[in-house]
């Protein structure tokens, strides 16, 4: 039986290293480093689940309207970029849904402290779930399997 294919979207390699070591027998794992790459990967292949990091401060390319944000932040381009970086996971998720991809999205973000925000995102981006910051590989395995059921 073919393994479920999980696209890991992160700006570093922490997750893919850990997953490869601890979840490599359970899933087929592929990593991309930014939102545009994620969109390319979605266009190029089928995926069973997309694992999304939230913060992308090491990515060279970001999804989002930088100009609008600069205006919001009174021309502060740095702050606009920082805002995009800090919330890039939601921007990527938004882009995925806008592109019409229905894949389950699993955020790596602690929404435990922001239930209203998560509820807001759920109404727009479902099916989504999250693993909090302290989730270990076993928790993540469970979360993925739960979303794939």
């Amino acid at each position: 039986m073919a393994l479920a294919r999980v696209l890991v979207v992160e700006d570093g390699h922490e997750y893919i290293e850990t997953f490869s070591r601890f979840l490599g027998d359970d899933f087929e794992l592929v990593r991309v480093g930014d939102g545009p790459s994620c969109m390319d990967a979605l266009a190029a292949a089928n995926w069973d689940l997309i694992f999304l990091d939230m913060r992308f401060d090491r990515a060279e390319r970001l999804i989002g309207d930088q100009a609008a944000l600069e205006k919001r932040f009174h021309g502060d381009a740095g702050r606009a970029k920082r805002y995009l970086e800090n919330h890039q996971g939601t921007y990527i998720a938004n882009a995925i849904r806008e592109a019409g991809y229905p894949h389950p999205l699993l955020f790596s973000y602690d929404f435990d402290g922001e239930p209203q925000r998560f509820a807001h995102l759920t109404t727009r981006l479902a099916p989504i779930s999250y693993v909090n910051d302290m989730a270990g590989p076993a928790d993540i395995r469970s979360a993925i399997l739960e979303m794939l059921d």
Binding site: E14, R21, F111, M134, G136
Partner: protein, 891 residues
């Protein structure tokens, strides 16, 4: 000779004389042995009256007369035995000083009588050294032809000196070359070599000299004086340079060479100094000063081994300048050290005549007195002869024989003799002890010990035997046995044993004991060889005790102060909350560090602990190694534990900057549990680097990892989250906003103004907002000030209004909720975003923009229906984590 005499003395008893004469002879021997030479001479005389050629009596008479200073009498006595080698030798020895030629003749007679014996030739050489050096040299060469072991040095060295004195350098050189070639290993050959070197360099110098030493010119003398001044001022290197240049300019200046030697000597360059002096001597051998300098160098820098050469040099110096008292004294000293007491005595006396009040006159007088002192008559030991009555006479004689052999270092003969004694008198302690001493001298410590123990069984009250046993044990490193034996000696009143016990106590670091024992030593000691060492040891003990006390005091004080300081710091130290209370401005920095701990350390790393524990249980070495690198670092990269310590240090440093001493590891409810968990991780490091082979042990480590994981991933992580939330969350309410407004209105700038009351509307209070309380207060206060000033200046009295409405918003994409604080007023005039962010405003608004930006908020100007404008501050709304996620999601 004395030993031989002793042997004969003891052997003579019981010879073939009539009983009466035999008794006389015995009395003579006893008197001589006791040092009563007058009686001895009389008794020997009476024996000789009956038996005029009884050789032992003749020799005894000669010795007795000689001992009384009656040289002619002694010679006459010895002459009775004109064919006896022993008597001839005695006469020769007596005549060596007074009639060297007669002595030499007698030695020649002995050479004939004792054909093949080498020592008469040496005697002849000794006799002729001062009067006929060439004949003495011939005698030495004959002696060397016959000697079959290392030749004896003193006489030969004297002969060499005499040859040099008599300008018989070639003969001296030949003799020295022969000595060096044939007996290079003899211990006095270095002196021969040195003398040969000196002879050769002097000969070389003779070739060098073609005229009288050249006097220095005025300029050269100036240089010499400058060099001397440099040396006197301690600049010896400069002096050396100046002198070398001078010698290049004036190579035949003995003065320059000699001064160079003095400077070399100052620098401790003995060989260079010696060479320089030799050049000075070679250039100007008639100058006494260089001989004196050279002699002093040999005396002071060769530890006595070149004293004979030094004596020659000093004798030359004296001959060249007879009035030089210091040289005479130095000569006396070196003669004395060479044991030529007659010459030394003469020299001391000469010195005192020349300089009776000189620097060394006191010492010289004492030397003269000492060297002139005659030995007192021996005590009558016969009266205290304690030979046990039960010991047979035969044993006593053998015992004496053994002692005589022992004194001559003929240990085998001594041992044979004492064995005979012990066969006859096995319990005679004196013999047993002598046997022990002989065994020890032969290097057989075990036998010596056995003998002494046997002796103590016969008579345990032998303090010196206890002492000897103790010393032997100590030498062998058997300290317990040594201590027991020395205690035995000490109990019997031997002070030396106490000294040794004290020394042992000192060596073992028991200074108190050493001090106590030394007190007993000084109570018992009345002098002796141990007294001075004991005084020195006492000084050492006192020093050690003082050091020990200082160390104890110092160590104790240090420990006490350290503990005190630790507790003071511990008691004074505060948790993080105190820092935030006392220095609210630190909140931002605190938040950054705490956020980093939570995000960088806990989130990305410690979540692995559970998997690491599983890997450990399964023996997955790679996985364990991976986790270990994350935790403890690898190849210069810091691990979690070290980075945690770094963050703690950052916070403590932050606290110090604000004057708050933080104790995060013990007092802070947030960091203390994390610190404990990190400590556990630190303790597990070795076991994780090298996992136990036994699965039970690995499981145990794994369980501890799980426990640490829970502490960090569950407890600490959530605690940090709550802390962050509390730290950066303000519950916005109308009441709080009005309190700020009230404070602003009470400020001096506004108290005299007729200002409208603030109208506040909060949608659903309290609203949690992500901002620090102090910052929010400043933001609100600044904007209110700005509004009051504006309406005071630009708003008609009837229209003056000011309002603040708080509403909630949400970002469509990110879902982030925000809170808008809309500061409304009726003031006329223009305020745009560009003005607000371009800083073309008052200082208060500029600060407000900074504060809002710091909290990731925004601030802008909007038109507002019913108002002139609104300044809108947007801050992030904080969600309550108390609300279950599922419920909210459903909502």
């Amino acid at each position: 000779m004395i030993l031989l005499w002793f042997f004969w003395l003891t052997a003579a008893q019981g010879s073939e004389l009539s009983p009466l004469v035999n008794e006389r002879f015995s009395q003579a021997v006893t008197a001589e042995k006791a040092g009563d030479f007058t009686t001895a001479a009389a008794q020997y005389g009476m024996v000789l009256a009956v038996a005029p050629y009884y050789d032992r009596a003749v020799m005894g008479l000669g010795r007795s007369l000689q001992a009384q200073g009656d040289v002619p009498g002694a010679l006459a006595a010895y002459e009775r035995l004109h064919a006896s080698p022993e008597a001839i030798e005695a006469r020769a020895v007596l005549l060596e000083n007074s009639d060297p030629q007669a002595a030499a003749d007698l030695y020649r007679l002995l050479q004939t009588l004792l054909l093949g014996d080498e020592w008469p030739y040496l005697g002849e050489a000794r006799a002729l050294t001062d009067t006929d050096s060439m004949a003495a040299a011939t005698a030495v060469e004959n002696y060397l032809d016959l000697v079959d072991r290392d030749p004896k040095g003193p006489t030969i060295l004297d002969v060499l000196g005499a040859l040099r004195r008599d300008d018989q350098d070639e003969r001296a050189e030949a003799l020295m070359v022969r000595l060096l070639n044939d007996w290079p290993q003899a211990d006095w050959m270095p002196e021969v070599q040195a003398r040969l070197d000196r002879l050769l360099i002097e000969r070389s110098a003779q070739d060098f000299i073609v005229s009288e030493p050249e006097p220095l010119s005025d300029g050269q003398r100036t240089v010499l004086n400058e060099a001397r001044l440099s040396a006197a001022q301690g600049d010896t290197e400069r002096a050396l340079t100046q002198l070398r240049l001078l010698i290049r300019d004036a190579p035949r200046s003995a003065e320059a060479w000699g001064t160079l030697g003095e400077v070399h000597l100052q620098l401790g360059q003995v060989a260079d100094a010696e060479q320089s002096y030799r050049w000075a001597l070679a250039i100007d051998p008639a100058e006494a000063v260089w001989h004196e300098r050279f002699g002093q160098l040999l005396i002071t820098r060769y530890g006595g081994k070149r004293d004979r050469e030094a004596r020659d040099s000093l004798r030359t110096a004296r001959a060249l300048r007879p009035s030089w008292a210091a040289v005479v004294y130095a000569l006396a000293e070196v003669e004395r050290s060479l044991r030529d007491y007659d010459s030394a005595l003469t020299a001391y006396q000469d010195y005192l005549k020349m300089d009776p009040n000189g620097s060394w006159s006191s010492t010289a007088r004492k030397r003269v007195a000492d060297l002139s002192r005659l030995a007192p008559p021996a005590i009558e030991t016969a009266a205290i002869d304690d030979t046990p009555a039960e010991v047979p006479e035969e044993a006593v004689q053998q015992y004496r024989l053994a002692r005589a052999y022992r004194s001559r270092d003929d240990l085998n003969a001594a041992q044979t003799a004492i064995a005979t004694v012990l066969d006859v008198a096995p319990d005679w302690t004196a013999a047993i002890n002598l046997s022990a001493a002989i065994s020890l001298a032969k290097g057989d410590g075990q036998s010596a010990l056995a003998s002494w123990n046997r002796s103590l069984k016969v008579n345990p009250n032998q303090a010196q035997v206890w002492l000897a046993i103790g010393e032997l044990h100590r030498q062998k490193g058997r300290l317990a046995e040594a201590e027991a034996a020395l205690q035995g000696a000490a109990q019997r009143g031997v002070a030396d044993a106490l000294y040794l016990l004290a020394d042992m106590a000192f060596d073992s670091g028991d200074f108190d004991d050493a001090e106590r024992i030394l007190v007993r030593f000084f109570e018992l000691s009345t002098g002796g060889s141990r007294h001075a060492p004991a005084l020195a040891l006492q000084d050492q003990v006192v020093d050690a005790l003082q050091r020990q006390k200082m160390l104890l005091w110092g160590g104790g004080s240090f420990v006490f102060l350290s503990i005190l300081l630790f507790w003071v710091r511990r008691l004074r130290a505060q948790p993080l909350s105190t820092l935030l209370e006392q220095a609210p401005g630190s909140a931002h920095d605190v938040a950054m560090v705490v956020s980093a701990v939570r995000h960088e350390l806990l989130k990305h790393n410690t979540t692995l602990l559970e998997e690491l524990a599983e890997a450990l249980k399964c023996g997955d070495v790679d996985a364990v190694s991976y986790g270990v690198r994350r935790l403890y670092g690898d190849e210069g990269a810091q691990g979690v534990v070290a980075r945690f310590d770094g963050y703690v240090r950052q916070l403590r440093s932050l606290g110090r900057r604000h004057g708050v001493l933080l104790d995060l590891r013990n007092k802070d409810p947030l960091f203390a549990p994390m610190s404990g968990a990190m400590r556990k991780l630190r303790r597990l490091e070795n076991k994780l680097h090298r996992p136990p082979k036994r699965s039970a042990s690995r499981f145990e480590v794994a369980e501890q990892l799980v426990e640490v994981g829970k502490a960090l991933n569950d407890d600490a992580y959530h605690a940090l989250g709550r802390f962050m939330q509390q730290l950066g969350t303000v519950h916005l309410s109308s009441e709080a906003l009005l309190e700020v407004e009230e404070r602003v209105r009470e400020e001096p700038a506004f108290t005299h103004l007729d200002l409208p009351l603030l109208s506040v509307q909060v949608a659903s209070e309290p609203i949690p907002v992500r901002v620090f309380q102090g910052d929010l207060d400043d933001i609100v206060a600044n904007l209110l000030r700005n509004a009051y000033q504006a309406i005071a200046m630009n708003s008609p009295d009837a229209e003056r209004r000011i309002g603040l409405s708080v509403i909630e918003q949400a970002d469509l994409i990110t879902g982030l909720a925000t809170v808008e604080l809309r500061f409304q007023d009726t003031a006329e005039g223009v305020l745009t975003d560009a003005m607000l962010h371009g800083r073309s405003i008052g200082r208060g608004l500029g600060l407000t923009v900074d504060l809002v930006t710091r909290h990731e908020g925004t601030i802008h100007v909007e038109s507002e229906p019913g108002w002139s404008k609104a300044i809108v501050v947007s801050l992030q709304r904080v969600e309550s984590s108390d609300t279950p996620v599922a419920v909210l999601a459903e909502e």
